[in-house]
Amino acid sequence: MSVSFTTGDEDEISTSEHERGKNRGKRNSNDKEKKKKGNGRRKASREREGEEDLQDRTEKREKGKKRRAKNDLDEKQPEEEDEEQVKVKNGKVAKSKKNLKNETTRKIEQEKKEEGDAEEGKSKKKKKKEEKDRGKQTEKEEEKKKKHKKETSEEDNEEEEEDEEEKEVRPESLSPEELEKLKEAVDEKKKLIQGLRGKPWPMKKKLVTLRESQEFVEKYEGALGKGKGRKLYAYKVMMTKKWMKFQRDFENFKTACIPWEMKIKEIESHFGSSVASYFIFLRWMYGINMILFGLTFGLVMVPEALMGRPYGSIPRKTVPRAEEGSAMDFAVLWDFGGYAQYSVLFYGYYNNQRSIGWLKFRMPLSYFLVGVGTVAYSYMVVIRTMARNANESGVGDDNSFNFSWKMFTSWDYLIGNPETADNKFASITTSFKEAILEEQESRKDDNIHLTRFLRVLANFLVLCCLAGSGYLIYFVVRRSQKFALDGLENHTWWERNEVNMVMSLLGMFCPMLFDVISALENYHPRVALQWQLGRIFALFLGNLYTFIIALMDEINLKREEEKVVKFNITMWEASLYNGTVSENSTASPITIHPADIPRGPCWETMVGQEFVRLIISDTMTTYITLLIGDFLRAVLVRFLNYCWCWDLEAGFPSYSEFDVSGNVLGLIFNQGMIWMGAFYAPCLPALNVLRLHVSMYLQCWAVMCCNVPQERVFKASGSNNFYMAMLLVILFLSTLPAIYTIVSIPPSFDCGPFSGKSRMFDVIQETLESDFPAWFSKVFIMVLFYIQTKIQIAFIQLAIYYLQSTSKSYKEANVELKKKLQTVTLSELHVVWILLLTFEINLCFEIRALVF
């Protein structure tokens, strides 16, 4: 019994949903007959229904409602799927995503309304059960009207006359059925526009269809409303369109506001997302450095320059007599000696005056707090970004469904360049080949001893290389100290800049050697890349720490020198006073020009200078390699190819590829040097901002002009956090030496904001004692004691924060998977499974053919 009811119901729905739209013309002719039939059937079911009690009936009605809703949903599903596909495709384009969201919400609303209307219509139907055909027809029309949410009233409908010949768009002269038809058509077109993206048509057809249907909708949409309501409706439509346009423009504007976004997108389309990820990382780094620069510039350099004592007022702010001759040499630009050394750019220039200017700005305190603050800020930002990335990147098991992952996820949809697409295609094929070979290898592991031996040998060679480079740097730094003792003027430019040169050259060439050595190991490319990264990391770290150790030696030397100078100064002053004292106090005090007063060596400035020079030479080498290794090579390859005996472009030397890992590591270590040296040279963040800015443009240009897409295009997903983790490690390792020097070595006696104190952090105690009431310092110290143990806990908390966010993402992934499991029905599973099988089999055959 219930079965017949449902079939009747469904029939009705199917006619109303499908046939109505498709074979309109046919239906018009035998409309009434069909309706009769349907009504008859319905009547019968209703009568049978009537025998049952009321409760049962209501229950049934609810069931029917549910079914209707379900039908609606079923119809919606493919569309939603289409939309989802589109979403996946345009994953990164927020704009379209948003639009789609809007669409879905709109749809859902519409659906709800439809449901409500249907319900209403049903109840009405029940009331008018005994009415004749004509009545039924009007009722049905009403139902449809409501469905389309028009403001037309029932009376208007009834008054309209039938006129089938009329084709003009004059709503007053259209019959209800014609009107209905028109609405149907408009609706259909709207639906088409919405679902167009997911249609498997060629682009041209899509565009044509889109234009046609948009024109149609625009032409007839306004005609459907009537009178007062019509105007309102037209107004509404216009406003929604304007609003959407505004939103789109606003989104465009927002994208335009992101610096270098278009450049990066262009690169992404040419070179794939891995190269773009480097530039995104560079931009992020630029942002951080801007903030560091803002802090040091605004709170340290500018106040000192504006409110501190001017140049030449005290010895530490004056170029000594001996250096005056060479203080304006051109070499100052890269040596940072002369006037640059005795300026706000370096630690030694700052005075230990407690407060400066009319603002009573606490300069030493500010200097110290900014130094601590930059590091703390960096920690915070890095960890927060890591946590956010961990949230974003879905947690997936990459290893267990190797072939499926390769099959369905290996395409990089952001590629827009045919050459890159070719490369990507080739790389996917090779990855399949490799995977198949790997499977075979894993089955037959012969010769394991040879592989093991080769791997050990490779590691041994790499270790030798690392040790060699470390020793070379140590040797060079020691030698440079000897030169410094001799006096730098006696040596050539090469010898003076030996340390930086050697460090940069080693940092440039050793990774190449590692790359060659790693060919011995016969690892999978992905594993090989990780090893390569690890080795470069070790190399850079070793070089940096050797440099620091050598620098520590130099600091100790300077401090010895300082003791001697200090003793000499007291002697000198004593002799000076002896001369004056004999003539008694009436004589005028001797004025000595500050440039002539003897002074200590000031190791802090020396450290700052070393770092600045390192950064400068590093930048120079990077740019010069870029120009020679990439640009010159590209020019030669391009133009010599016309008159060369072999193909330079396809064979050797060909164009260079963009080395993502090397560049990222270079950037990270550069940042590490900034963190290390920023305390002793406040100009470092500014220099770095400049460098990053230039590199952004230069590298963008170099990539687009003289690099070719990588042969192994790989996606960057997940590598971002890898960079961040490295950055965190470097941050930690670079703050260690800085903290060590601040905590353990007393500051120079005659230069810098902390001169005269036994330790640099004494400035806080001093501030507490003199600038705050006594109770505050007591409380502060108590709190400090109380917190002392908790400082360590703070670090742990940071770690916990990170872990927590990671686990959250895991949890979300779990829930999502569960949801997916619930929604995916058995039939869909079958389809997916069969698709997958056929794909895999086909591809396997092709690849077999390729391999063998």
């Binding site: 290389c465 090469w494 050697v502 050697l513 790359d515 072999w646 193909d647 396809a650 050797f652």
Partner: protein, 261 residues
């Protein structure tokens, strides 16, 4: 002075090592193909091809193409270097010939006759191979080697002339209507003009196959660009290594003429 710049020079050591290791095959090739050749030319007073012929004469069985090819391969891999097609790419060539079963074959660039023998022994009965060589001395040696392998004038016809002169006259002088198979292994710069000449003379029919060796190393970029652009061919590149050398990548282009649609 040496001591002064020693450390900077040492920093370049990794670069040197990298270059040596990465391009070792090219260095070896340079040594084998050029240095040894010059040295031997001075010592023996013979050309490279003559030396190869002497070796083949003493080490191969006359009338047996197989053993002649083997002797060639051995000489090229053990003693000196001559850029023949080599055994690996030769196998691909054999396969293509067996699939195609051509009746008229044109070979551009005979050199010592290695590839001529390779093609001739894979030909079906009644097929004819025209081999074009520009150099007089090489052609004389090639003639001897081909006869040594047992192929007579009916099977292999050696034409001593530059290819760009021979191709326009093929139709008139040799009565050729259509070439089924063309093998190019002469000057890499001539690949493209010769291909265009072949098209222009109407010697290629639908289904004619053209095989060009060494399109990646030393390489024929203009040729590759041309076949990519013109759209007259179905083409693919068989990737392999350079003959008698492991690490240098090379390729052989296989073109099938489709004609203008």
């Amino acid at each position: 002075l040496v001591h002064r710049y020693a450390s900077i020079a040492l920093a370049f050591l990794p670069l040197l090592l990298t270059v040596i290791i990465r391009y070792r095959f090219y260095f070896v090739l340079f040594y084998r193909a050029i240095l040894i050749r010059i040295w031997k030319d001075c010592v023996t007073g013979l050309t490279r091809e003559e030396r190869a012929f002497q070796y083949v004469l003493t080490h191969a069985t006359p009338g047996d193409p197989e053993s002649i090819l083997e002797a060639f391969d051995e000489w090229c891999s053990k003693v000196e270097f001559i850029s023949n097609i080599g055994p690996k790419k030769g196998k691909i060539l054999d396969r293509l010939l067996l699939e195609q079963r051509p009746l008229t074959v044109l070979e551009l660039g005979t050199h010592c006759g290695y590839s001529t023998i390779r093609i001739a022994r894979a030909l079906p009965l009644g097929a004819r191979l025209y081999s074009v060589e520009m150099d007089q001395r090489n052609a004389a040696i090639a003639e001897k080697i081909i006869r040594l392998a047992g192929f007579d004038d009916d099977t292999v016809e050696l034409i001593v002339n530059p290819s760009d002169e021979v191709i326009p006259r093929l139709r008139s002088d040799y009565g050729l209507e259509r070439l089924d198979f063309v093998f190019m292994d002469h000057w890499k710069k001539c690949y493209r003009p010769d291909l265009e000449l072949l098209e222009g003379c109407g010697l290629l029919g639908k289904g004619s196959m053209i095989v060009a060796d060494n399109v990646l190393f030393p390489g024929a970029p203009k040729f590759l660009r041309y076949i990519r652009k013109c759209g007259l061919y179905e083409w693919k590149i068989h990737r392999a290594t350079l003959e008698y050398s492991r690490g240098i990548r090379d390729g052989m282009a296989e073109l099938v003429y489709q004609g203008i649609k």
